[in-house]
């Protein structure tokens, strides 16, 4: 029998929507497809939105690459750049690229984006005329800027203004020709449009409003524009930014249903069952797209669909827009103006400060917002729109912002992040709420904007919300760790990494030595740093360091989990989820004898005895020990469980002895202390009944060997594992897993699970340590085995024998 063969997925279009879909797919079903990507551009996937910032000189091309070539390689994706697909054959299920390469597919993803709309004007083909869509366009514009030429931009919408501003920033005299009488008329009302024009004029842009281009004049290259009303605009560079048109050529010639865009259903499938489509090339329920927020949503749904989820359904989210011109704040969402008698407009205008805000209300609900000059409350208004919240209560105050609408909150000026509610959306592109950002900051100890970006994707797309994210970061860390964001705790300014480094460098072997040598502010530390130091020392000096029970959380101090009523729960180990009648009998007897109120099967394939009184613990353990049961470390920042499935021993699909391998792994790793808890699982085939793909280390058996996966987490924040490698033997599984474990033990920060650790250091790093450096891997494994010699002592048996007896007795009983 064979492992399930991977299906072939071909992606046409190496752009934002296509690659986001691939990323989502790798999270959901890393092993389902062999993926081939064709890109017409010669670059890896980059953040198209940021082209405006590259043009304006705020970013380099390198800064906006989203997925590096290494990323494609590491994820086993075959990438053909600079090689557009010229045709597809749905009957044969193949695509043919410009190079002549023919690639077959089981599933095809069309993510061809859109093309700049080019009006049928004479002279449009002259050199010096460019669109604003890709890196090549930006390079042409920068080249013109170098020569200090004059520029004209056709189109006063979002894209055109960003282009014009970028060119102006580069020192070019720049004019904008716009067909309508106000700028950005699709996003702004007349008043805000005029304010914008005034500001941009002050910044040196020239405007030709109500101007329709008749032709691009010039002989061998563009020399300017002639407008229908006779005006002329001299220019050496003409940028056309009047709109976009879905890029549907391939789909159309292959006979797929196409209207304005490639027609897709709610599952992102086209009219051909094997062909999916996402991004600006699609049309969904009559709608086409031009912003990234809905594309991210499409990517999620399409990935789920590709992964086999029949229930994934795409719904277009509410959209908001901002203009990425540094120093100009514009925000709009929903309706721009009252449409009939039933609509009301609330307007705030401060002409001296150049602030304008308008809310459109209908039935006591906000249905639109336009803001200029002060957009701090944009996210809040947008949230009210999306939630269709009833605002009757605060109608009179809300135009002044959230801080005033909610009288109980004192406004602080600027972006009042304190007054923002947790579910207020901060990053519209990626749909990240304030609550999610705060949670990531506190739980993961994030201290920089980059870390927040990496963990939440907030401000990782257009970057407009970066200042708000920064404010939230300051606000959150400022309160939680009293402005000592980088330090381990209030006792030191040193970071976790620095402390670990010094422990080794200065050979510090006791907590007092660490606190003395590194200048701790409190001589006995605090409840935050002591458990961390205890762990770091134990990990650094396994043979020498004497564990400090008083620096451990109660559960680890008494080797049982404290419950809300002060009683404890007791979970014995069941190796790889296996048990025996005699073990079960012993558990039943203990439950009877000590009148234990609850016996429960845990989520970790073993049995929990809940409600044991502290004084009873040693007796309960003694009885369990007699039946051969030892501590399951259900309380430990250490190895918890190794879940398994029945595997080849019983299952008709099993490819290897997953149960046996699970037992071996648990025997190898039990007793080890780790930065945070560690859970493993071994599944006997890719059906993955042991849920290995959400474990810290997961093994999936296949006919040819064992796939090793790392960094999964099924807890607070679901994270699928990353694929590390495939090995052929059980011994290699043990060696690789042991080495991963040791590197995690030595390098992760206390209370950082493997999932955030892998995200922080990157899979490339893990691969470098485990795959590329064979001797390093073997050495790490040896260090792990060495430290296990001192760790594999059953703590229950020790306590039954009298260790820490005072823990389980009252000191005195008095009247």
């Amino acid at each position: 029998m064979n492992a399930i063969p991977r299906q072939k997925l071909v992606v046409i279009g190496n752009g934002m929507a296509g690659m986001r879909t691939v990323e989502e797919l790798l999270k959901l079903a890393p092993a389902r497809f062999d993926i081939t990507v064709f890109g017409a551009e010669p670059h890896p996937n980059y953040n198209r939105i940021m082209l405006s910032s590259v043009l304006a000189g705020e970013k380099q091309v390198d800064d906006i690459i989203i997925n590096t070539l290494d990323w494609y390689r590491d994820n086993g994706i075959t990438l053909h750049t600079g090689n557009p697909v010229m045709s597809m054959d749905p009957a044969a299920k193949t695509v043919t690229a410009a190079s002549g390469l023919v690639v077959p597919y089981d599933r095809l993803l069309l993510a061809t984006g859109s093309k700049p709309l080019m009006p049928p004007l004479p002279g449009l083909d002259l050199p010096g005329v460019v669109a604003f869509r890709d890196i090549a366009d930006v390079e042409k514009m920068l080249d013109a800027a170098d020569k200090k030429q004059r520029a004209v931009v056709i189109g006063g919408g979002l894209l055109g203004l960003e282009a014009a501003w970028g060119l102006r920033r580069r020192g070019m005299p720049t004019a904008v020709v716009h067909l309508m009488d106000t700028l950005m008329e699709r996003q702004l009302d007349v008043e805000a449009g005029h304010l914008l024009q005034k500001d941009l004029t002050e910044r040196g842009l020239h405007f030709f409003m109500g101007g329709q281009t008749e032709e691009v004049v010039g002989t061998s290259r563009a020399e300017g524009l002639k407008l229908t009303d006779g005006r002329t605009v001299p220019a050496d560079l003409v940028v056309v930014a009047i709109g976009i048109r879905p890029n549907v050529d391939l789909a159309k010639s292959a006979g797929l249903d196409v209207n304005r865009g490639i027609v897709v259903g709610d599952d992102m499938k086209t009219s051909d069952d094997a062909v999916y489509s996402v991004g600006e090339c699609v049309e969904h329920r009559g709608q086409v797209f031009g912003l990234v927020a809905p594309l991210w949503e499409q990517a999620k749904v399409c990935a789920a669909s590709l992964a086999g989820d029949p229930d994934a359904i795409y719904v277009t989210p509410a959209l908001s827009t901002r203009l990425k011109i540094t120093g100009i704040d514009v925000f709009s969402a929903g309706q721009l103006a009252a449409q009939d008698e039933a609509d009301e407009e609330l307007i705030y205008r401060d002409s001296a400060k150049g602030i304008y805000k308008k809310l459109v209300l209908r039935d006591s609900k906000v249905v639109g917002a336009v803001m200029y000059g002060d957009v701090a409350d944009g996210a809040w208004y947008f949230q009210l729109i999306r939630e269709k919240a009833d605002v009757a209560e605060m109608r009179d105050r809300m135009i002044f912002g959230q801080a005033y609408a909610d009288v109980s909150c004192k406004g602080k000026g600027g972006v009042d992040v304190a007054a923002m509610s947790d579910d207020a959306q901060v990053c519209g592109c990626n749909g990240v709420s304030k609550g999610a950002i705060v949670k990531a900051i506190t739980e993961k100890g994030l201290t920089s904007l980059d870390e927040v970006k990496a963990h939440t994707k907030a401000s990782a797309s257009c970057g407009q919300c970066a200042s708000v994210v920064q404010a939230i970061l300051a606000h959150t860390t400022g309160e939680v760790v009293e402005a000592k964001a980088a330090g381990m705790c209030g006792c030191t300014d040193l970071s976790h990494d620095a402390v670990r480094h010094e422990i080794i460098a200065q050979k510090l072997k006791t907590m007092d030595a660490v606190r003395g040598a590194l200048g701790w502010h409190n001589h006995d530390g605090c409840a935050k740093c002591r458990p961390a130091l205890n762990y770091y020392l134990l990990c650094a000096w396994p043979a020498e360091y004497v564990d400090d029970g008083q620096s451990r959380f109660i559960n680890e101090r008494v080797h049982a989990n404290i419950q809300k009523d002060g009683t404890y729960s007791v979970i014995p180990r069941m190796w790889g989820g296996l048990t025996t009648p005699s073990e079960l009998r012993a558990i039943a007897d203990v439950a009877d004898k000590f009148k234990i109120p609850t016996v429960k099967v845990t989520g970790g394939q073993r049995i929990d005895l809940l409600g044991v009184k502290k004084e009873q613990l040693p007796e309960v353990w003694a009885d369990l020990n007699k039946a051969g049961l030892v501590s399951g470390h259900g309380y430990a920042k250490g190895l918890r469980t190794v879940k398994t499935c029945v595997g080849s021993e019983w299952c008709r699909f099993g490819t290897q002895d997953s149960t046996g391998l699970g037992v071996k792994l648990e025997k190898l790793m039990w007793g080890s202390w780790t930065p945070h808890k560690v859970k493993l699982a071994v599944s006997g085939c890719p059906r993955n009944c042991a849920e290995a793909s959400i474990k810290d280390i997961g093994i999936i058996c296949v006919e040819a060997g064992y796939d090793i996966l790392v960094g999964g987490n099924g807890g607070i924040e679901l994270r699928g594992t990353d694929y590390l490698t495939r090995v052929a033997t059980e011994d290699e599984v043990l060696e690789y897993s042991g080495a991963i474990m040791q590197i995690y033990r030595e390098e992760a920060r206390y209370l950082e699970r493997t999932a955030p650790w892998v995200e922080r250091v990157g899979m490339d790093y893990v691969k470098k340590r485990i795959l590329d450096d064979e001797s390093g891997r073997k050495a790490a494994y040896a260090r792990f085995l060495h430290s296990q010699k001192y760790a594999q002592i059953d703590p229950w048996a020790e306590r039954v024998a009298g260790v820490d007896a005072h823990q389980f007795k009252t000191l005195a009983e008095v009247e």
């Binding site: 006995d524 409840a527 458990p531 008083q550 404290i562 009252t810 000191l811 008095v814």
Partner: protein
């Protein structure tokens, strides 16, 4: 008042740890700091009754094991932003012997 009751020796309690004493008024937690000071509080966290004796002691505070409130060993008061107070018990240390005065408990600061 001479209601001092001897409950044990300083060495019975681990440094930076606690032991419990059963009394007619309820369980009392007796703490020992790094500097061998001794404090006693009724063993119920002002938050949801967590056993403070099981918390991590540092300086003159203990962190409750259930939801991490920080309780001042001297006054029994929770550290801001949390609010609440657990009743302190008068305690003295004479030649390594620990005595509690249970009849007259220290006044609760407020609340």
């Amino acid at each position: 008042m001479n209601d001092w009751i001897k409950i044990g020796r300083l060495s019975d309690i681990p440094r930076l740890g606690a032991r419990t004493v059963e009394t007619a008024q309820g369980q009392v937690a007796v703490f020992r700091t790094q500097d061998d000071e001794v404090f006693a509080l009724f063993n119920r966290c002002p938050h949801k009754g967590g056993p403070l004796s099981e918390g991590i002691v540092s300086g003159r505070v203990v962190v409750c094991p259930l939801h991490n409130w920080t309780i001042d060993l001297v006054t029994g008061e929770a550290t801001a932003p949390d609010e609440g107070c657990t009743r302190p018990v008068v305690v003295k240390l004479v030649d390594g012997d620990i005595f509690l005065e249970l009849a007259v408990s220290k006044k609760v600061a407020h609340g």
